[in-house]
Subunit: 165 residues, 3 copies
């Protein structure tokens, strides 16, 4: 553990290796970021599914059924769209924040567990918002989990880079 | 595995070089990501253009003409806003997904063509959605093209990083 | 200060060092991107604050007060949501654009000042849009500042990578 600082044994990653597959923390980020990207894209498909199920379309050229009009206020469709918008508001900034957090060479155990908890929290958020609405505070807790993790990463990065303000 | 800073023939990129201008795949990503960023920002300007053309503004302080009220349901403005939102839903996750796909050192020919097709598909999507609405399934096909490409990249990355779950 | 396995004087960064904490330009990007991520996440909390202050909630399960209904058109809430959406439309593409701009090894003085101006412009945008609405063109100027900076970065990157089209 506390060995000599000989650079040969690859005990310690150089800065140049942080954003490579040689860094287990980066690999863990890649995996869970991929899970969240797929989850977000599935929201588009879920919206489309709801649109066809309830025959609610926002454009003239989308009216695939006879005798329907464009419509914007269907509660089933709008619920999925709100969940999707919430994903964009929270997960997209998280992607950037977590990526630059990896660049600060964080403790692997802490970093990997943050990635796991954040991703699972957002999957729970989707389940309790868009799929099976349940009473609060389930959605608030799922929302707050990734929010607090992102704030924590922001604090770590800001402290490390404050002198470059 | 090992970084091998020895001056070899540069036949094969080391992991450390993947996110540099020495990697043609990364350069190709940079170019087409830039095209898509510019395309997305032009949607903001197109929305502004429609707002001035049809005198539809959402805020009190934006009422640049006399005798108008704030208004939120103009179909010309809302169409551009829906196209813009669809861009955010699809292109922004794609940016992250394609970037981490580059980190897995993909086949250059496959990767570069995926970047090209995905970017052109989204330009077509904007044309047939926001500029010249045409009958379906043109927009669905343009939408599905980037979606499937992103799913493919997700599958590649997830398989490579699955053991870091 | 830096590890510098290369035997040079570290006057000039290699491509491999651009996305590391050894690059002051990257550190400056990290700091200001972190500021903007935090600013964006605070918009979610500001929306929640407005929802509780004016008792306006979009979901049945969010009705924390008696005798209220779901409601979608409260001007105080919608103003914050428009500002938040504008953030997503502009700041999220900027994150990617600025990151890949760093990869082109730009002039440090130019790059760092662009990061600073862009971030401060968006903070001003939030102040004059969501917190204290003031007459135009204050918001338009704040909006245009980051837009033009992003276009400039796009031009730099596109010119450097044009042959990989």
């Amino acid at each position: 553990m506390s060995n000599t600082s000989a650079p040969t044994m690859h005990d310690k990653l150089t800065n140049m290796e942080l954003l490579t597959l040689d860094n287990p923390v980066f690999c863990c980020y890649l995996f869970w970021a991929t899970v969240l990207v797929v989850k977000m894209l599935l929201m588009s498909l879920l919206t489309a599914l709801q649109r066809f199920r309830y025959k609610v379309f926002p454009n003239e050229e989308d009216l695939f059924f006879k005798n329907i009009e464009v419509q914007f206020d269907d509660p089933h469709v709008e619920r999925v769209r709100r969940a999707h918008r919430n994903d964009m508001e929270n997960i997209l900034p998280y992607f950037i924040m977590a990526l630059i957090y990896v660049c600060t060479n964080p403790n692997p155990l802490v970093a990997c567990n943050l990635f796991r908890v954040a991703a699972i929290a957002r999957i729970v958020h989707t389940l309790v918002y868009a799929l099976y609405p349940v009473p609060q505070p389930s959605r608030i807790l799922a929302f707050a989990t990734m929010l607090l993790i992102t704030f924590y990463m922001a604090a770590v990065v800001a402290l490390r880079t404050l002198r470059f303000i």
